[in-house]
Amino acid sequence: MSYSDTELMVVKAAQELRDGDSVLVGIGIPNLAANLAKRTHAPDLRMIYESGTIDSDPSSLPLSIGDPVLASGAASIESLHGGFNYYLQAGRIDAGFLGGAQVDKHGNINSTVIGDYDDPDVRLPGSGGACEIASNVERTIITTSHQRQRFPEEVDFVTSPGFIDGEGGREKHGLQGGGPAAVITDMAVMGFQNEEMVVESIHPGVDREDVQEATGWDIKFAGDVDETEPPTEDELRLIRDELDPDGVYL
């Protein structure tokens, strides 16, 4: 069964979630991934959105993190103050999704500016809640497309800290969350060893050179780097028929 890059990313992102996790979900791939995990290996996943909905049970695909389907049938709804304080800062969230215009070798993310802060080439949306997710969640999962300008050795601006300057960087800065656990792109799945990004599996049809070419530094490959396992038919059917039947994000 053929599949798109997005579908593969959704499936890989879903596999990063564990049953019983409280996960801070965003719109698009993260939302599809969380809902896929909940319908497969993680029925007790608790989906939490930045808008304050706790244990959402969306009856249809949410189009923004404030979609009413995330509020209807949720277990609870917090104000912004409550969600960020009681859930994020208090360390109640196990996993969270992040994206961004740039991700660097140490998993730091830029979603603020390309170029100089005071005279930017491109003004990006800014942190939103990304900095607090990156700081306080136990495992962050980064999803992004894999292009050289998106993977510089060092980001132009650290919006959301990964491992900062590498080993011991998070401890030095007093960050309670564990930092980036996985980076999932349209080419590969990467993890972190000694606080540096390492390719763990490469998607079918992509080779090492492609990944290196699309990365702005000499990226390391794990000793046992494998071909990424493709989505199963069940996973694809769930994504296409139940989660995003109109193909909004696929």
Binding site: I27, S51, E132, S135, Q176
Partner: protein, 303 residues
């Protein structure tokens, strides 16, 4: 003297050029009608503050009302970037604007500090990020119990807040349900508060369920009854988000000129929210209707 008035009257009395203004609402119950009224009244040099300066601030920026934006995430939610916001920053069109930038948590905690009367509040974020270097209102503070350092932000007290809720009594005691965002903190932090609701109801409705009250009469200066006051955002239980409008804005705002044309048609040539809503096609309005799903009531007891 009744506080109940029109949005036109409320805005013109409450806001002056150069004021700091917070239109509250995080993804839900965004006061679009108030933003349009600000544009119609041709305010200038406002400091507009908002965690998510989405379409409504993009429109105010394009209309030349804004001198400064204090924010934490400037995008078209679920769609892309804010083109008028970017034109102002990247190209100074229609005028350059100053930025003051936070994370969501940072900005919400500034409002909270303002609402609770503290000179600062500590929070666990910003460490390891480049934001503190760009904003002198983000400073570190050491815990008086042990060595831990955390960041802190000072209070934010806007001159005017516009907040929304689904229903209020004519004194301004207001019920909000669904996603509450920062409506409460914005109301309690600001000097003057305009409340806009979908419905004004009898006081007994509000007092039948005091736990649902967002803020009370004492903190409300003007009350506007304005059905569909949040379109194309939504009001839980009243109407859904008009997603086509968000997608359409991405087209409309491609150039400054096309943006002006849209403002001419949908803001400047429209008298008020009622006329705006009547201008929408009935198909579109019908698409936004939600069915009914009532909460299980509670028993307060007959005391």
């Amino acid at each position: 003297m009744s506080k109940v008035t029109s949005m036109k009257q409320a805005i013109s009395t409450a806001i002056s050029d150069g004021d700091s203004v917070y239109l509250a609402g995080f993804t839900h119950l965004i006061p679009f009608a108030a933003g349009h009224e600000i544009i119609r009244q041709e305010y200038t040099d406002l400091e507009v503050v908002r965690a998510t300066p989405d379409l409504i601030y993009d429109q105010m920026i394009a209309a030349g009302c804004v001198g400064k934006v204090t924010f934490s995430w400037a995008g078209n939610p679920g769609v892309g970037s804010l083109r008028a916001f970017r034109r102002a920053i990247e190209d100074g069109v229609p005028n350059p604007i100053e930025l003051e930038e936070y994370t969501h948590f940072g900005l919400v905690m500034r409002l909270y500090a303002g609402a609770v009367g503290l000179p600062f509040v500590p929070l666990k974020t910003f460490s390891g990020s480049d934001l503190p270097a760009e904003n002198d209102n983000i400073r570190s503070v050491q815990s008086p119990f042990g060595d831990e350092e955390v960041y802190a932000v000072p209070p934010l007290n806007p001159d005017v807040a516009v907040v929304r809720g689904q229903r209020a009594d004519e004194n301004g005691n207001v019920h909000l349900w669904g996603i509450p965002g920062e409506h409460k903190e914005a109301a309690l932090a600001s000097d003057t508060v305009i409340l806009s609701v979908e419905e004004i109801v009898d006081e007994s409705v509000i007092r039948s369920d005091p736990n649902r009250t967002l803020v009370t009469a004492d903190d409300i200066d003007y009350i506007v009854e304005e059905p569909y006051g949040s379109h194309p955002s939504y009001a839980q239980g009243y109407y859904d988000r008009d997603n086509d409008a968000y997608l359409n804005w991405d087209e409309v705002s491609q150039t400054h000129e096309s943006t002006q044309e849209w403002l001419d048609e949908w803001v400047y040539s429209v008298a008020d929210r009622d006329e705006y809503i009547r201008k929408l096609s009935s198909d579109r309005l019908l698409d936004l209707q939600t069915g009914n799903a009532y909460s299980e009531p509670i028993n307060m007891g007959e005391n």
